[in-house]
Symmetry: C2
Subunit: 176 residues, 2 copies
């Protein structure tokens, strides 16, 4: 089971303001530039996110995912209004969650949300990180990264920049 | 008076471990690659750093700077052993420090050290940021960035990557 991160951060490493706001992300510019999102999603067969990220997604209105979503939560969650949305709640240690998904024949999880990413990284379960850096400093907010039991060495796979100043890096986590 | 930052960080935004260690920076690889450091230093006529960074530099042994150094400190500082090292202590608000240096005909300050960079950024005194991202997550350490009174928008000037996986971005701070 592979697990990847695909996320945008401010240059100072925040994925959202303290209140979850992402108003600082670039607004669609009329082009169909999606920063590689759809190409990435095409490789993913399940999303894994925390309850907080899930509730943020729900608050946006229309359910955005065709891919099945697993929400990590110890209490029950609201379901999306869309009948065809596939949302399932799970609870447990990250390694166990991925094992349960692998047992179903799933092969590539998109791990999303700050705390969830941090937990999976700390447990050595992430293989790929695609980080898109937005040219702004927020000063405070919800951080992408957090404490780790030890250094995590990365290998830069590629990097590219966009006309609006976004820079995207793809890293592989170097196995311990 | 222009002021620039030129610094390396881990992907999770640390410039040193908690104890100041920079063992995670790439070791010289026998090439003369300096990641643009000398070209940058050639544009600088004064370094401004905090006492903590200064003491770290002193601990390295041989004094590395030909450029005059201003150390921000409210108490007296040790001088380098090297007779030709130019080190001067100053204290005061960042804007006042830069004004004093400008009054001497200096034109471009290299602002270094986490807390000092944060103070100068918060006061809107930095025009250029060159950030070199090392492909490692440390989990904890001394952060490059800190709280700000408001968002700081940046313009990406250029980006380049190196064979060892370092990625360097140059940003201009967008005037408020």
């Amino acid at each position: 089971m592979n697990a990847s991160v695909f996320i945008a951060t401010s240059l100072d490493g925040f994925i959202a303001r303290e209140d979850g706001a992402i108003d600082w992300l670039p607004t669609p510019d009329g082009t169909d530039e999606d920063y590689g999102y759809q190409a990435f999603m095409d490789t993913v067969d399940v999303l894994v996110m925390g309850r907080h990220t899930y509730e943020t997604v729900l608050s946006f209105g229309a359910w955005p995912y065709e891919t099945p979503v697993v929400v990590l939560s110890h209490r029950s969650i609201e379901q999306p209004e869309e009948q065809d949305a596939s949302v399932e709640r799970m609870a447990g240690p990250p390694r166990e969650i991925l094992q349960r998904l692998a047992d179903r024949g799933l092969t590539h999880a998109y791990v999303d949300g700050g705390r969830t990413i941090q937990r999976f990284l700390a447990d050595g379960l992430i293989q790929r990180l695609t980080i898109t850096v937005v040219p702004v400093l927020l000063g405070e907010g919800l951080p992408l990264f957090g404490p780790l039991p030890h250094d995590v060495r990365l290998q830069l796979l590629d990097t590219r920049s966009f006309p609006n100043g976004l820079v995207q890096h793809r890293y592989a986590v170097v196995a311990e």
